[in-house]
């Protein structure tokens, strides 16, 4: 196994393929703990993990909290509305105060791209980026890779469709980095107003393609990842209305039939049923959405284990 030479996990852009594979392998090891009658190991006893979530989140925050607790770390959760940031304290001051309490890992979610990196440069604790603006969300990409690897055995050579609000999506960005590093091809699908510049340049030449229509992109796809329309981030009128969006970019059974017969359907959640994904698909046999959630806990256990001092280095 490759050693993990980072003190922080800020994004997929800075990870090498071998490091990603090592994190996935380690995550697979932790899966078993979540199946035990007593879902807890003593590994991080005495370590403190602070979940600093300055943007709303249920799934990711709960997932990190469960991951920390199953490793016996003490997990402290701070959410936006309960923090001093509403009293005018800056992120850095909040973080410095937390750092003075000597946590081992700070997991941070913030609306501003680069927030996690800024904290990492100033704190003693290891920092995990749990989503910074539209920049990166590395543990989501890791759990997505883990889910794909389970169902397809590998990522190399797969055709993966990512469809939806690419412009506001840190999940899309982290996944494009991760998928292309692991040898998959990524087909980005979105209305022009929800695309972002420079996406093709993220992978090796030819590994990322941009499509403005869903049907042609679905042909022969191995994996289809639908993204949520982020109403809270879309200020102006980037598309006429959700009904029209759904008509052109929603995944329904008829469209799903264009992909490979064994294609899997993913969604990072939360789902807007009937907008980007038809309930018949979301609840259908090809959907692996809850698998993604289950693997998320194991992946976050692996990340906390490595950043709190563990090592997946080789045996003697």
């Amino acid at each position: 196994m490759t050693a993990f030479a980072h003190r922080h996990l800020l994004g997929m852009e800075s990870l090498a393929a071998a490091e990603i594979v090592m994190l996935l392998d380690l995550g697979d090891r932790f899966l078993e703990i979540n199946e035990r009658p007593i879902k807890k190991v003593p590994t991080l006893r005495g370590k403190t993990v602070i979940n600093l979530f300055l943007e709303p989140s249920t799934r990711t925050r709960t997932s990190f909290e469960i991951a920390a607790k199953r490793l016996s770390a003490d997990a402290v959760n701070i959410s936006g509305s309960a923090s001093s940031t509403v009293k005018g304290e800056t992120l850095l001051d909040t973080a410095r105060n937390l750092d003075a309490m000597a946590p081992d890992v700070v997991v941070v979610r913030h609306a501003q791209a680069g927030a996690a990196e800024m904290l990492a440069s100033r704190l003693r604790a290891g920092v995990v980026n749990a989503g910074d603006g539209a920049h990166e969300h590395p543990t989501q990409a890791l759990l997505d890779c883990s889910t794909i690897r389970k169902h397809k055995g590998r990522l190399e050579g797969l055709d993966i469709v990512i469809c939806g609000d690419i412009r506001h999506s840190r999940v899309a960005r982290s996944n494009i980095w991760a998928f292309t590093k692991l040898g998959a091809r990524v087909r980005i699908v979105a209305p022009r107003t929800l695309l972002a510049p420079g996406l093709e340049a993220m992978g090796t030449p030819g590994s990322v393609s941009i499509h403005e229509r869903l049907e042609p992109a679905l042909e022969g796809a191995d994996v289809i990842m639908m993204l949520r329309i982020q109403k809270e981030r879309i200020g102006g009128a980037l598309f006429p209305n959700t009904r029209e969006y759904s008509r052109y970019f929603g995944l329904n059974p008829r469209r799903l039939a264009l992909a490979k017969p064994d294609a899997i359907v993913m969604h990072p959640g939360p789902i807007n049923r009937g907008i980007e994904i038809d309930p018949a698909v979301a609840d259908g046999p090809r959907a692996v959405i809850l698998d993604q959630v289950a693997r998320g806990v194991a992946i976050r256990m692996a990340v906390l284990y490595l950043l709190a001092g563990g090592d997946a280095g080789p045996s003697e």
């Binding site: 196994m1 380690l26 090891r29 932790f30 078993e32 703990i33 035990r36 009658p37 007593i38 807890k40 190991v41 003593p42 590994t43 490793l71 709190a308 001092g309 563990g310 090592d311 997946a312 280095g313 080789p314 045996s315 003697e316």
Partner: protein
């Protein structure tokens, strides 16, 4: 406490052979017989749980030997202690984390932990913690191929293959064909 870093392989020289291939086979067969004799009837079928990685191979061999000797087919499990070590973050090289596999609940059973080398006792302490997370065995017994002494915890084996007096600078290495080496047990010492 300062971590006791195991010296790298290149710093160790072989002092003597403790067991050759034939001796290793003989010793394991005797251990199997002793296990069959010592574990009372209510502990049947025997439930052998190897400590990864060396102990897991030995538990497997003991299982076949016991079945050959007419015992009811023993149950075979394995524990991985990486996440339970008390020196997990003390700079020791960490082995890959392997799965813990217990094919049947251990509640109310007599479980025999099998390890290759018994030294400080810390590995067995960790292995017992793993078992406690899975259930409450009626009893836990310990079988080890080599007891090299120098215990740091009050742990004693029930069945021992060979007892070797060692110094702190020595180490015992169990080589097994399952790992692509010839069966052999050797005593090594740190280069002066």
């Amino acid at each position: 406490m300062t971590p006791r870093l195991p010296p790298p392989d290149s710093d160790l020289i072989e002092r003597r052979e403790i067991l050759d291939a034939a001796g290793l086979g003989r010793t394991l067969r005797r251990m199997a017989l002793e296990l069959a004799e010592r574990i009372p009837q209510e502990g049947r079928p025997l439930y052998l749980v190897g400590v990864r990685t060396g102990g897991a191979y030995l538990a497997q061999r003991l299982c076949s030997m016991l079945a050959e000797a007419g015992e009811p087919q023993p149950l075979l499990g394995a524990v991985d202690i990486s996440l339970y070590r008390d020196d997990v973050f003390r700079g020791l090289p960490k082995p890959e984390i392997g799965p813990t596999e217990l094919p049947e609940p251990i509640d109310g059973r007599t479980v025999v932990l099998v390890d290759d080398v018994l030294f400080t006792g810390r590995t067995i302490r960790a292995a017992m913690d793993v078992l406690a997370d899975y259930g409450r065995p009626r009893a836990v017994k310990l079988a080890t191929l080599v007891d090299r002494g120098r215990r740091e915890l009050p742990i004693q084996p029930d069945v021992v293959g060979v007892v070797v007096e060692t110094t702190a600078s020595e180490s015992v290495r169990v080589m097994l064909s399952e790992r692509g080496e010839g069966d052999r047990v050797i005593l090594r010492e740190r280069r002066a």
